[in-house]
């Protein structure tokens, strides 16, 4: 590994372009090639990065944000040397450690030690250096009891922890991290955050690809917004994060989202899962504002209502209605249910329809929330449930925490001045 030299830039990118030719048929065969050597093969030319120029100072924490397919990961892979750029140049000053696609490349059949050794060999470490590193890696990942277990038997959280640990413990000068915050439990996220604080103190350079605007705001010195392979904005994290939110929920994006939805007035989610025994059907679900106008995006702090239209297929007594909103990390943040109301919901005949409405003050921060309504009975039977029937986006002018709990605050000084007054 080369030692960092005197230049203050840690990463320099000049006019970087990268495109992919995606064949229409994913699998091409030799047979095809031999039988029809001159037949033009149809492929889609995809320009992932277009003339990106960028310079990152040593010790800088740079956030890279953008919508899916904007080129974030491609940029990181070019920097990591996994993709060869079509045009342009990249320089990196110092050693590099990467965390790409939720991992560092493990062989699932091997135990942790062998995987760490392979990883070390790929990065050019000697066996002795690698062995020394192993204990620190396991210690940081908190996997002491699982070192002999094959990676395939690890839970996905354990795998990510090990991978993150391998990356962090390399103690490289430049860290390239792709979407580490999208997985793992709250404790792991906290650990990542702690580690980010550390890297800042150690004057390491970090390039972090993330959708988590809170993290961008909290850690980044500067942020880059990519859109269709170009730099759409660069500068103050807060301003860039705002541009990102605008871009995602611009009027154009919103109408597109509105067009996509028909029966369901929420952005339809790919993993809408219908379950239940079919005694009731959730026909529709939507959000509305205090005037009853349907909403596709919610604003933090506003009074809103969630409504679900339910049709009963059979006669049902005292059904319970509920809804849960989960963050993009699939953590349930808000639940409402009719279970605890004083009055039981009563008797419903077959074919009867009703609308269940929940009003609440939206304390949720900006994110995309999965919506799961359900109709159940007190004995635990599920009549109808639509797991993640759709999702709703919450926006706010400034990025911030995931929940906005109303608070009051006061200052209680315990100085002599106070004592004198008393």
């Amino acid at each position: 590994m080369s030692e960092p030299n005197s230049s203050s830039a840690a990463v320099v990118v000049e006019g970087l372009s990268k495109s992919f030719d995606r064949p229409e048929h994913q699998v091409s065969t030799l047979k095809e090639q031999v039988l029809q050597p001159f037949r033009p093969r149809r492929s889609r030319h995809l320009r992932a990065l277009r003339e990106i120029s960028l310079s990152v100072e040593r010790g800088e924490f740079l956030g890279i944000v953008g919508r899916n397919g904007s080129g974030k990961s491609t940029l990181l892979k070019c920097l990591a040397g996994i993709y060869r750029a079509d045009e342009g140049k990249i320089w990196i000053n110092g050693s590099v450690s990467t965390f790409i696609e939720l991992g560092v490349g493990f062989n699932p059949e091997l135990a942790a030690l062998d995987n760490v050794m392979i990883n070390a060999a790929m990065l050019g470490l000697s066996r002795r250096e690698a062995k020394q590193r192993f204990d620190a890696v396991i210690d940081f990942a908190e996997l002491e009891d699982f070192t002999d277990l094959k990676i395939k038997n690890y839970s996905s959280g354990m795998r990510v922890r090990l991978a993150f640990s391998v990356m962090i413990q390399l103690d490289a000068d430049v860290l390239l991290i792709d979407e580490v915050l999208a997985v793992g439990d709250a404790a792991f996220q906290q650990k990542c955050f702690d580690e980010f604080e550390q890297t800042k103190q150690k004057n390491k350079t970090v390039l972090l690809v993330t959708h988590n605007m809170g993290a961008v705001d909290r850690f980044c010195d500067r942020a880059v917004l990519l859109e269709r392979g170009r730099i759409a904005a660069i500068g103050e994290p807060e301003a860039v994060a705002q541009r990102y939110v605008d871009l995602n929920f611009s009027p154009a994006a919103r109408t597109a989202a509105a067009k996509a939805e028909s029966a369901v007035n929420l952005a339809p989610d790919a993993d809408d899962i219908l379950s239940g025994d079919g005694r009731a059907v959730i026909e529709d679900a939507w959000f509305e504002d205090s005037d009853g106008k349907r909403l596709t995006t919610l604003t933090s702090g506003a009074d809103v209502a969630f409504s679900a239209r339910v049709r009963f297929v059979e006669a049902v007594r005292n059904p319970i209605f509920s809804v849960t909103l989960s963050s993009s990390a699939r953590i349930p943040l808000f639940s409402a249910s009719s279970e605890w109301s004083k009055q039981p919901s009563g008797q419903f005949a077959a074919g009867e329809e009703l609308v269940w409405k929940v009003k609440f003050k939206n304390a949720l921060g900006p994110d995309r929330y999965g919506v799961t309504p359900a109709v159940t009975l007190r004995d635990g039977a599920t009549l109808a449930a639509r797991e993640r029937i759709g999702s709703v986006v919450v926006t706010r002018t400034n990025p911030g925490p995931l929940v906005d709990i109303p608070f009051t605050q006061q200052l209680l000084r315990s100085t002599p001045a106070d004592a004198n007054q008393g």
Binding site: S2, E3, P4, N5, S7, A9, A10, V12, F20, V27, S28, T29, L30, K31, Q33, K77, C78, L79, A80, G81, I82, Y83, R84, A85, K89, I90, W91, I92, N93, G94, T98, I100, E101, G103, V104, G105, F106, N107, E109, L110, D114, M117, I118, N119, A121, M122, L123, G124, S126, R127
Partner: protein, 285 residues
């Protein structure tokens, strides 16, 4: 480390076949090979035994059929050892190339996430097959000693024979593993070719039988295959001189150059083809 002439540090050019440090490269090949070798051995309780069982079982079946029932090896001295040697050599060839074909795809997780010299992947397959060959050769050697073979000066040819076989196998491993990334029917095609090669190589029979039954030109064509000439030359040098040397079949010592030349050419083509394909492997997976 020499001082970097560029003010911004190290240029990042993307992945290549070899990397820029030979020591790193070989350490990586070694680590990849030893870990998968260990995996194969310690995966089951009788790992080593199973490893030996494959060539030995094939040998036992072939031996019974060809000597007891068909009487093929009657006139040949130490036919059993010669047969086993052929099987073990051929197994090295199929082990190394057959596993290497799918190796890049099998190591997808690494290729997509880390910049490392791509060539290490197929070469690790060849090295792992070489470990197996070493273990199998111990059995061949014991067999040779117990059935009446004896130390000969010509044994010194063995490393050269092996080197030729390694060059040929490595070359094919590089070509086919790089091709497989683009063309997914390479593997079934290669399986068919391997099967044909098994019978097209003097393993069960000897080259003198080919000369007797099909004539000298046929024998010469067969021995152009480096695997065939490696087996034939090893039988001559290691087992008994009554097995024709490759040079004898061609009538001149220069005949040896044909399989050697083909091996070296395969290796060079393999290196060039793999080097051209390496930078774009990650995006074509």
């Amino acid at each position: 480390m020499t001082t970097d002439p560029h003010p911004h540090g190290r240029p990042i050019t993307g992945p290549g076949a070899f990397g820029d440090d030979a020591q790193h490269f070989w350490r990586l090949v070694w680590t990849l090979a030893t870990t998968s070798f260990k995996l194969r051995f310690f995966g089951s309780a009788l790992g080593y035994l199973w490893q030996l069982m494959r060539p030995l079982m094939l040998f036992a079946v072939m031996y019974v059929i060809f000597t007891v029932i068909l009487g093929v090896g009657d006139g040949e001295p130490l036919y059993g050892v010669a047969l086993l040697l052929g099987i073990v050599f051929f197994q090295f060839f199929t082990d190394s190339v057959g596993v290497a074909v799918r190796s890049i795809i099998a190591r997808e997780a690494l290729i997509r996430k880390v910049d490392f010299p791509r060539l290490a992947v197929p070469l690790a397959c060849v090295l792992q097959a070489l470990f197996n060959l070493g273990l199998n050769l111990i059995v061949v050697l014991l067999f040779l000693i117990f059935t009446g073979g004896h130390l000969m000066l010509s044994w010194i040819q063995f490393p050269l024979i092996l080197l030729m076989l390694i060059c040929f196998s490595s070359g094919l491993a590089m070509i086919l593993s790089a091709m497989y990334v683009r063309f997914r029917d390479v593997q079934p095609i290669w399986e068919v070719i391997t099967q044909a090669l098994f019978y097209g190589t003097p393993i069960l029979y000897t080259i003198s039988m080919v000369i007797d039954k099909a004539g000298l030109p046929a024998a010469r064509i067969l021995l152009m295959n480096p695997v065939a000439s490696a087996i034939q030359q090893a039988r001559h040098a290691m087992v008994d001189h009554s097995y024709d040397a490759v040079g004898n079949v061609y009538g001149t010592l220069a005949g040896d150059l044909i399989p050697i030349g083909i091996s070296v050419a395969t290796l060079i083509i393999g290196l060039l083809y793999f080097r051209a394909a390496a930078p774009h492997m990650a995006e074509r997976l």
